[in-house]
């Protein structure tokens, strides 16, 4: 499978897992990546297996983009013992460091300084690995970003800061939470390389991330990539949306999956039938994941006291 098709498939996988989750109620609630698939998938396409990724609580996209087993992710989100983290992490805390996913952390901006620390570990290990961390536009208001950029720049840490700017922090538009625009300008005082790009174009994200990562691996120090995206669902499945219908419709029209599929179709690389087949295959795979998760047990209550110390 050519790489753009693999990336499209990954995006479809994220969308499908989320769609099947949206159809059920037995997982409490979720923060969906629907609409923002291209950011995670484009970024992960530029990472090496030994690199580490951290994400915010909006983690389904990043986890699946990083290649975690969908069945284990689904089980985790459903709270089953077969989940990536035995069902203890649940939404917002998924992690599989051996797979290069140091993990999600659902304290906004709370993952930034951790990512710098992970990058320090990578730098000292000297094996060329880098760290990427995905955070939102809302997280840019937190002082942790400043401390992270400064420390990472001082020490030239191999760190890619990826701002998934979906324009909203719950109900608050970015223009009302951030005085800086574009957000990538925040990196300028620290002398960091940066870019602001269309985060709905997976190929653009991939290229931009790959470019910045090359600089990072070459010892150029940290970089900042702002991806302009759209969240196509409410903040969480338990939150009311605050956007007007036309705004939401305009956002939906930017769907990164439709766009990637259209491009591949235009290039003659994937016709409608092939795309439909891809969607079906993914759908079946996801359904199998849900079936496995449904069949799996919840963790034993005794696990409430395991792995505390």
């Amino acid at each position: 499978m050519i790489e753009p098709i693999a990336r499209l498939r990954r995006m479809v996988l994220i969308r499908t897992v989320e769609a099947q989750l949206m159809a059920r109620r037995d997982h409490g609630f979720q923060l969906y990546s629907t609409g923002e698939e291209a950011v995670a998938v484009g970024l992960c396409a530029a990472l090496s297996p030994t690199d580490q990724l951290l994400s915010s609580g909006r983690a389904i996209g990043p986890a699946l983009a990083r290649g975690l087993d969908p069945a284990a992710v689904i089980a985790e989100l459903l709270g089953k013992a077969s989940g990536v983290n035995r069902g203890k992490a649940g939404r917002g805390h998924l992690a599989q460091p051996e797979a290069g996913f140091l993990g999600a952390h659902t304290v906004v901006a709370g993952n930034l300084t951790l990512a710098a620390g992970a990058a320090l570990a990578c730098q000292r290990a000297g094996e060329g690995a880098i760290v990427a961390v995905i955070f939102g536009d809302g997280a840019c208001g937190a002082g942790a970003l400043h401390e992270t950029m400064n420390i990472a720049a001082l020490w030239r840490l191999p760190l890619l800061l990826v701002c998934d700017n979906n324009g909203l922090s719950v109900s608050t538009p970015v223009a009302r939470s951030m005085a800086a625009s574009p957000l990538a300008t925040l990196a300028a005082p620290f002398g960091m390389a940066s870019a602001t790009i269309d985060g709905m174009d997976v190929e653009r994200v991939h290229t931009a991330a790959a470019g910045l990562i090359a600089g990072i691996r070459a010892g150029g120090g940290p970089a900042f990539l702002e991806c302009r995206s759209e969240r196509l669902t409410p903040h969480s499945s338990a939150t009311r949306d605050t956007r007007a219908a036309p705004d939401l419709a305009a956002a939906r029209a930017r769907c990164p999956i439709a766009r990637a599929a259209a491009r591949l179709a235009g290039e003659g690389a994937l016709d409608a039938a092939a795309f439909a087949a891809l969607e079906q295959a993914v759908s079946a795979e996801v359904a199998r994941g849900f079936a496995l998760a449904d069949a799996a047990p919840y963790p034993d209550p005794a696990e409430a006291l395991s792995d505390v110390g």
């Binding site: 409490g28 709270g79 917002g92 304290v107 937190a142 002082g143 922090s169 109900s171 919840y298 006291l305």
Partner: protein, 330 residues
């Protein structure tokens, strides 16, 4: 029940009691500000700010960036210049990001300036677990209780939320006002008239003769549930005290109750170690000259997972309280 309550009440939700108290106090004090994430048109995570933005506008009800230290610091600075402020910290876990302006400055400003400054700030925050996992479920009120200069309030009913929030908004020092995710959808009778509760007064919410149970916030409802079960299952008559104010702590009311019942069981959702329960028991021993029979009930000594099975196992419930009371009275 107070005199006002007798004069007329209306049944409203806990979240509405918060909004009503705030609206009334904002009308009374044109300087009073509300700061927080999504407190504006959105109306707050639990709709507890509904209507305030429409009525008081952008200037007085301000959405803020996700910057808890900044939020509290700004609130404290405004309050130090006489602009009373309520800052909303969505979950109490995030209060950890904002302890420096609250504890290192606000709680000490009056003392350190020899009385030249007051900081009338209310930090309102939501404690407790309801399926949101390890970093959105914590209760750290015990930390706040030990900070000289801080007042700590935690209502369990709409009426008390209303009366205590008004008290907080008229207090001239820093207050931490703690509600709970599971309280917002609860309803109750709230006085129609202006009604300010005293700070530092606990309340006997169920009379009993065999054991005193103390609690605060959402856990008061668990205590009441357990009390009914104790009566029905074992003929044990439990007196339930809603602490309402954690700092200052109304040890008089508790001691008077324990003097009658001879035993105390404390219930809290926060960690037991260095928690509210052992503090109460120790002070009782000091007041009463000897320690009463005592037990404390709380969560397991572990993080609270969002996993329904593990969260259920971790949190204290009526069954655990019933068992603790029966064991103590055996």
């Amino acid at each position: 029940m107070s005199a006002e309550a007798a004069a007329g009440t209306a049944r409203i939700f806990f979240r509405e009691a918060i909004a009503r108290a705030l609206a009334e106090e904002m009308a009374r004090d044109p300087r009073l500000l509300v700061l927080g994430q999504d407190v504006g048109a959105f109306g707050g995570s639990y709709k507890e700010f509904t209507g305030l933005h429409a009525r008081f506008g952008d200037d007085r009800v301000r959405d803020m960036p996700v910057a808890e230290a900044g939020m509290v610091g700004v609130g404290v600075g405004a309050a130090a210049l006489g602009h009373r402020t309520l800052v909303s910290i969505t979950y109490m876990d995030f209060l950890m990001l904002a302890l420096d302006p609250l504890v290192n400055y606000a709680a000490k400003a009056r003392f350190k300036t020899g009385g030249r400054l007051r900081v009338p700030i209310v930090v309102k925050t939501t404690a407790g677990a309801k399926g949101q996992g390890v970093a959105h479920s914590q209760c750290i009120e015990a930390w706040m209780m030990g900070v000289p200069g801080l007042t700590v309030l935690a209502p369990s009913t709409p009426a008390d939320a209303y009366g205590l929030l008004k008290a907080a908004l008229r207090h001239d020092g820093p207050v931490v006002f703690i509600d709970h995710k599971r309280l917002f959808p609860k309803s109750g009778e709230v006085p129609l008239a202006d009604h300010v509760l005293p700070i530092g007064a606990a309340c006997v919410v169920r009379a009993g003769t065999d054991v005193t149970v103390t609690s605060h916030g959402y856990m008061v409802h668990i205590a009441l549930e357990a009390a009914e079960r104790l009566q029905a299952e074992a003929g044990i008559s439990a007196e339930v005290i809603d602490l309402r104010s954690l700092a200052p702590l109304d040890t008089g009311t508790i001691a008077a109750s324990v003097a009658r019942t001879g035993a105390i069981v404390t219930l809290e959702e926060g960690q037991l170690t260095c928690g509210v329960g052992s503090e109460i028991c120790f002070r009782l021993g000091e007041i009463m000259g000897r320690m009463p029979r005592a037990a404390r009930v709380g969560p397991l000594a572990a993080p609270v997972s969002s996993n329904p099975v593990l969260e259920g196992e971790c949190l204290p419930d009526a069954a655990r309280l019933v068992a603790a009371v029966r064991k103590l009275l055996e």
